[in-house]
């Protein structure tokens, strides 16, 4: 379905939860590139997508977080870029109910611009463009997420805008410092939000790094800077800890849902979960949203 119409129609849209942690639960091994499961184990990817739609997600994103040109080159599988992206897009499109959306997921390159690294903005942009071109035929909107450098984010936005006219959700990832929310590169939340408004995206978001309780304040600051803009948030389910070789998220799905409820009572148009969240979290959010909107 058309993303902007859905956004207009519904007060609150429910995004999906994590992909990586769901793949781990299904046997993703050390050294494997999760995105490659789109072609090696399409049935597993399909099952996870289906679970999220079934749990109540309005928006589910492709399993293509690392499937941009630069990141895949680092893994030595850049030749699989088209196959990975197209397979993920095709699977998700084939099971997407008519009143819901397919979101094309784009994550950071993993490279850094000077002075931290030696990447060139042009190479990063080209890498994102290749991914956007492969995903474009299947999606209703884009989610460019987990970026910590606003320059790289702007390069990705531009790359997507060249390849597609579909709306963009742009999510930076912030850490909490004594002086407020900043990315690890030192971009402040306020600066990022203003730059994103100027870049022509449809929704401004934030995901990962912080847990749901930290997002309560973060959303307040975002709202002050962007009074009328649609906001999207995907917090982590607390911080992961490994016990007996398995990652454990100490925060319960119920605690996560309670924080999101607090955010939604005041603000937020699009909510979902990042690392550590699964169908249980999404189902709890569905109930909360339905109660809040009388749906």
């Amino acid at each position: 379905m058309d993303f902007l119409s859905l956004l207009k129609e519904k007060e609150i849209l429910l995004f999906d939860g994590a992909m990586g942690t769901e793949l781990m639960r299904r046997g993703l091994k050390l050294g494997e590139v999760p995105d490659k499961w789109n072609i090696d184990h399409p049935e597993v990817i399909r099952e996870i997508f289906e679970q999220y739609y079934k749990a109540g997600s309005d928006l589910v994103q492709t399993a293509t977080f690392r499937a941009n040109g630069v990141a895949l080159e680092k893994y030595g599988i850049q030749n699989l870029l088209e196959d990975i992206n197209k397979s993920s897009g095709k699977i998700l499109r084939s099971i997407c109910p008519p009143n819901k959306c397919v979101i094309g997921d784009i994550g950071p390159s993993g490279e850094f611009l000077p002075p931290v690294g030696n990447a060139s903005i042009n190479d990063l942009k080209k890498g994102f463009q290749k991914q956007a071109r492969a995903l474009a035929p299947f999606i209703d909107a884009w989610h460019i997420e987990t970026f910590s450098d606003i320059q790289e984010m702007k390069a990705a936005i531009l790359a997507v805008q060249i390849e597609s006219n579909k709306p963009i959700i742009a999510s930076m990832t912030y850490k909490k410092t004594p002086k407020g929310y900043f990315t690890v590169m030192g971009n402040s939340l306020i600066d990022c939000v203003s730059e994103l408004i100027d870049s022509g995206v449809a929704v401004i978001g934030s995901n990962c790094t912080l847990s749901s309780s930290d997002f309560i304040e973060l959303v307040r600051v975002m709202r002050v800077t962007a009074p009328k803009f649609p906001l999207s948030i995907k917090p982590n389910a607390g911080n992961p800890q490994l016990e007996n070789g398995k990652s454990v998220y100490k925060q319960t799905p119920e605690d996560f849902a309670k924080d999101i409820k607090q955010i939604l009572e005041h603000d937020g148009q699009i909510v979902g979960g990042c690392c550590g969240t699964g169908p249980t979290h999404i189902q709890l959010l569905r109930d909360i949203i339905d109660r809040l909107t009388g749906g």
């Binding site: 990586g20 030192g186 490994l242």
Partner: protein, 215 residues
């Protein structure tokens, strides 16, 4: 003397490359105790940069720039160290890498930078390195310490593999092993039977010194 050391430290904190280089040259021209100039001057500066990073005052670009300023100043002084006074003693040799399957380099690079700045010899193997290769390099370089980073919960299991392989090869006692990365906790370190972990780069330096009996 202390005031020039303070100026050197300040040049690193202010990320002022020209000032740092000219102070390094001044140390040579005025025949200052060079080792002291590195330790009390530029070394003190990078420690402060590390503290500012931990306090959320500095971010990645400032941290990396600070390390570059420190490095270039020290590079001016180092060739002259061996001539006169004793060479700057290395605090120990560290082989570092981000584990197989994980391409995250920020945390590992920050720790490597801080260790280097604090007098350790660091062999940085980069990211996505197999456990077997990390061990082979540690053996080859006769490292004192192995540092393994993992940011993903999917890859941190590889940190455990390092210890298991060292045990299998009967060389566990040759190295101290420290783990790093956002999801790593003291409990995980215990479970892996590693020697330690640190919450941040400054703590990593303290931990490395402590493990090698330097503090």
């Amino acid at each position: 003397m202390d005031s020039i050391y303070e100026e050197m430290a300040a040049s690193v904190v202010e990320l002022d490359m020209e000032k740092a280089k000219s102070l390094a040259q001044k140390a040579l021209d005025e025949q200052l105790p060079l080792l002291e100039a590195i330790e009390k001057g530029f070394g003190e500066g990078i420690k402060r940069v590390g503290n500012l990073w931990d306090a959320g005052e500095f971010f990645l670009p400032e941290l990396m720039r600070g390390a570059q300023v420190m490095q270039e100043a020290v590079d001016i002084i180092t060739p002259h160290l061996e001539e006169g006074s004793r060479a700057r003693e290395t605090k120990g040799k560290v082989v570092m890498a981000t584990i197989e399957g994980d391409i995250h380099t920020i945390g590992k690079t920050i720790v490597a930078t801080m260790l280097k700045a604090n007098g350790f010899e660091v062999i940085d193997l980069g990211a996505d390195v197999k456990a077997e290769d990390i061990i082979a390099e540690a053996v080859k370089h006769r490292a004192d310490l192995i540092g393994v980073s993992a940011l993903l919960t999917t890859t941190m299991i590889g940190q455990k593999k390092i210890i298991e392989l060292l045990e299998q090869q009967g060389i566990r006692d040759k190295f101290k092993v420290i783990l790093g990365g956002a999801p790593v906790t003291s409990k995980w370190v215990e479970e892996c039977k590693a020697d330690g972990y640190a919450e941040n780069a400054v703590a990593a330096v303290t931990k490395a010194k402590q493990l090698l009996g330097l503090s």
